[in-house]
Subunit: 244 residues, 4 copies
Amino acid sequence: MKIIVDRKNRKYVVHDKEFHTEKGVIPEEDIINATVGDVLETHMGKKFTVIEPNINDYIELMKRKCSILLPQDLGLITAFTGIGYGSNIVESGTGAGSSLLFFANIVGPEGHVSSYEIREDFVEIIKENIDGTDFNNITLYNQDVTEGFKEEDNSIDMVFVDLPKPSEVIMDAYRILKTGGFIAVYTPYVEQFQIVNIVLGKAGFKHITIREGNVREIEIKNNKTRPNSRMAGHTGYITFARKI
Amino acid sequence: MKIIVDRKNRKYVVHDKEFHTEKGVIPEEDIINATVGDVLETHMGKKFTVIEPNINDYIELMKRKCSILLPQDLGLITAFTGIGYGSNIVESGTGAGSSLLFFANIVGPEGHVSSYEIREDFVEIIKENIDGTDFNNITLYNQDVTEGFKEEDNSIDMVFVDLPKPSEVIMDAYRILKTGGFIAVYTPYVEQFQIVNIVLGKAGFKHITIREGNVREIEIKNNKTRPNSRMAGHTGYITFARKI
Amino acid sequence: MKIIVDRKNRKYVVHDKEFHTEKGVIPEEDIINATVGDVLETHMGKKFTVIEPNINDYIELMKRKCSILLPQDLGLITAFTGIGYGSNIVESGTGAGSSLLFFANIVGPEGHVSSYEIREDFVEIIKENIDGTDFNNITLYNQDVTEGFKEEDNSIDMVFVDLPKPSEVIMDAYRILKTGGFIAVYTPYVEQFQIVNIVLGKAGFKHITIREGNVREIEIKNNKTRPNSRMAGHTGYITFARKI
Amino acid sequence: MKIIVDRKNRKYVVHDKEFHTEKGVIPEEDIINATVGDVLETHMGKKFTVIEPNINDYIELMKRKCSILLPQDLGLITAFTGIGYGSNIVESGTGAGSSLLFFANIVGPEGHVSSYEIREDFVEIIKENIDGTDFNNITLYNQDVTEGFKEEDNSIDMVFVDLPKPSEVIMDAYRILKTGGFIAVYTPYVEQFQIVNIVLGKAGFKHITIREGNVREIEIKNNKTRPNSRMAGHTGYITFARKI
């Protein structure tokens, strides 16, 4: 599998077979032999560059049935929980699978991401999306997470929760986390993190901190600089806590 | 090396020898035998918990002579460049070394971080800080980066620049990046990213996007919820661009 | 002239004559006799409430050919320059006239607002808009403001500038301001306020402060509270300075 | 009463008598004869400029026992309720009196501000502060506002509420407001505006909108531009609603 980009920055996934575009065909042989940086050309002259694929390219190109977490929020979770290669992560629910792929890309083959999703239709799509990648550090459970995580006690570095009722999994998250491990709970609404805050405390978590991040793009056009007037006013709150 | 935490959440690094505190001593044997989750006690009864150390714990505890990048900015860089395990990263300058440790923790043993720092006194401190860790995927150059990166053409996934005059390294960053690779340039000032924006374009970079992130903490005290009135109004702008 | 509101919160200006709606007619007599709080009804039964008109109602209902300053920015200017009833204000350019009406409503009959606008088509529309109001404390100049303000030295409390090249009027603004008076310069772009900042200093202004305000709406739906995801990421920068 | 400013921008109120400074005395006669823009000098040569006083100068110089509303919030209230000269305003509680003076300065002699404050010690200080001004459009009630506003039905343009339990006055605020009039409720906490939102609806208010404003200063030093890193992360939420 390779990712190619046209001159208008549209990305396409190509597999090791002939690729048909609106402006002609790229032969199978060209695709198989191509390496990053090569320019491929259809018989009608349309050009594509083979790029080093990035986890965000995969996330952008994958099928999905629901909204995804934005990069800024995935970045906050990564930065404040300090996950890295080799980390063992559990998340619930899987949703569109963007956080699953993002975390799997960070923890690598020495780490692992288990992801729990109750909806079968979501799981089917995510499985398709994973099949198109090289990740073999992912376990996907089509399960009601309130039945409990399958992980052992004190075995996990970070639990990420993105559920309508996050409190239902907090006690069990505490059980599976290592001492020093983090939980991160993503909630769009104030009422949610207010409950999460209480339940985290009761479960024994420390250093409970609720954060809201936002990102503004700055545009420079014709030597004029200003923040972009379009901006996401809110994505969600992320509540962090540590088992300590 | 282990990290222990007291009841007031103060963290200490302990090595495999007797540890002296204001309230007594923890014997060498106890420290050597301790595993994550264990509680250690001084002869005067003060208690410490051994925690699974986190990259942020190391960064918090390391010596430094200059300010560090905040987690939210490291998170933005990670999220929007899509780095992960196995990524090859070059950064310049090293500064306090917080981004160096943060990236090294993500790319893992299959990846690598090369870091360039012109100031010898900074390099000395960073070396000490690295010695206290297990990272063996770091190369530190005490070098004026305007002499050029030592890396080969098309070999790097992400170049991170945090220099007073970032433009001086942009052409060479383009050279060493893979097609599809990203540059991220951190600058506190508007005038800096305005120049960076122009030079990135001239160097051939595409998808130039300037972002400013900020994070607000929400506090809940006595069942009263409000954003914290203390907040960093600005850390820096991060300019992202892709070699494509 | 009265303002009436239907059940869907659509506002209409009615004058002392029959008012035709899609759902019937309100007789002239009913309109003439109506006072604030009365409910008027068409012969087909559609109901309207007569409200105490507000300056924002006028601004919302007035014709315009260009974008208007948002209330949050008018509020910042009012608050940080400390204008009130009786203040003498000069503004340039008039634009859609929203700031003109807003300021005229604050300074009242003991104050005055002079407004300079170079475009004749804008001036025509604004004149129509003013004719529909009771304001008699407004002077509108269809003039290139670089020819100089007509006001006397040391006579004005606040000068508001919303021009593509605000620097052209700063020297003359200093002349007409009282000692202790304020200038407020609205600019969408960074490059503009950078020049304004220098020129204000050269003109003799003190306490130069550049401010950027923004407003986020919080929504509560079905007992769920969250900031609205739609938000203006940027309107403009306002540079304040004082003649002192 | 006049306001004078020294070269370091420190402001002083002077009355029609000799003024003593650390660096000498300004004679009574000089003060009496001085007009705006004049420079006064002590016998030791220290210079002061007489400025056109601004409502913010008064607020800055007044005594107080509690924190004050910031200009940006007073600006939001002014802008979104559309108050102006001649408006009739009721506020509760008075607190430090900054909003009282700010509103009195806007509504002028044709308008009026009634302010209710339960704490006698606050009222004493505010009375002193008002005595130093020319305002004769203010009525101050040292009264528990839950006993009800003294104003007549349908007589008020805007009610401003800044109380720990704002809901207690909302029904009565509805009574005294004109049809088309606004209420603005300032609350630091989420839990407060959640209750306010419900009670406003029950009282019959429409167009309930909760807003949070913030202001960031931009600094330019040595030709380097950046937002100030110090910033108020939160002052309060303002809930607006209209009687319609």
